[in-house]
């Protein structure tokens, strides 16, 4: 299933739970959606950099299994953006469900 612009919101949601690196973020999105949301992992990092440019996430160097990794964590403005995205998504979802429900 195509993510169609929702990838930044999903990334923020994953990072709101705990700081993480790119590979783990990609796996968490796939696992949490039971594999329904599939995307090319090469596009994850541009989305992360965009969020970093906007100040929604920040990166830092971390170590995992003795290997240096670039970790990302959500910022205060990122949490605010996530809350707004959640509310917007719920409204959109409710509206689409109403229309599709009427059509049945």
């Amino acid at each position: 299933m195509n993510l169609k612009g929702t990838l930044p919101t999903l990334i923020l949601e994953i990072l709101a739970q705990e700081p993480s690196h790119g590979y783990r973020i990609a796996q968490r999105i796939k696992q949490s959606s039971d594999g329904l949301l599939d995307f090319k992992e090469g596009t994850l990092y541009p989305a992360l950099h965009k969020l970093e440019n906007e100040g929604s996430v920040e990166s830092y160097e971390g170590i995992e299994n003795g290997r240096a990794r670039r970790y990302y964590r959500i910022t205060r403005s990122g949490r605010k953006a996530l809350n707004e995205d959640r509310a917007e998504w719920q409204q959109l979802s409710r509206a689409v469900t109403m229309i599709l429900g009427e059509a049945q």
Partner: protein, 212 residues
């Protein structure tokens, strides 16, 4: 398979600045290693694991298009390096500094004298020159260090530049549009590049010239 990853990376970092390319290479390499390790732990043979890790990354050209929207390209990095040229020129030596800083004032004085001598066209031309020199040589020294002040300054700068053209050419302005566009092209190009850079760099990493 490492060569396949290298090919993927070479495609993905095309036209990116050296720093951006290094960042992309590092994070994609980390990602690839993790994906490969996970596949190997599942008992998949090494060759297949390499292939799966590479396929999961997707199309390098699509990734490159997205990277170029969020990371500095080589041309933007060049603009960033060179865009403090006015400040460097002013600060290069004391003599040049005082000549460049006093010229707009001198031109303003000449303009006033010309006006007093009823040479209104000459006065207008010299006045416009004085305004443009002020914009390019004095303003980089002003304490503009916040995005808000920067935005106000840019509005004033463009209003003054367009105003100068209107004042200089009057109703014939449209007839000389081609000349004005040619003359303003470097300024417009620089402004456009700076706008792109502002979107890509967090404010905490903006150098002074990005506010202007």
């Amino acid at each position: 398979m490492t060569t396949s990853l290298d090919r993927w990376l070479n495609q993905a970092v095309k036209r990116l600045s050296q720093d951006s390319a290094d960042l992309v290479r590092r994070e994609i390499q980390e990602h690839y290693d993790s994906a490969r390790e996970a596949a190997l732990q599942q008992g998949i043979d090494p060759q297949q694991a390499d292939l799966m890790a590479l396929q999961a990354l997707g199309d390098p050209c699509a990734a490159n298009r997205q990277y170029r929207k969020v990371l500095l390209t080589s041309s933007e990095a060049r603009v960033l390096r060179q865009s403090d040229a006015e400040s460097r020129l002013i600060c290069s030596n004391g003599w040049a500094k005082w000549v460049l800083l006093s010229t707009p004032g001198t031109l303003l004085l000449i303009s006033a004298i010309s006006l007093a001598m009823h040479q209104s066209k000459l006065a207008l031309g010299v006045l416009v020159l004085s305004v443009l020199m002020t914009l390019f040589f004095i303003v980089p020294l002003l304490p503009i260090y916040t995005p808000g002040k920067g935005r106000i300054f840019r509005v004033i700068k463009w209003a003054m530049m367009i105003g100068s053209i209107v004042v200089l050419f009057g109703p014939d302005g449209w007839n000389w549009a081609w000349l004005n566009t040619c003359c303003l092209y470097p300024v417009i190009y620089m402004e456009w590049k700076r706008m792109m850079i502002r979107r890509k760099l967090p404010i905490s990493r903006w150098p002074k010239q990005l506010y202007l």
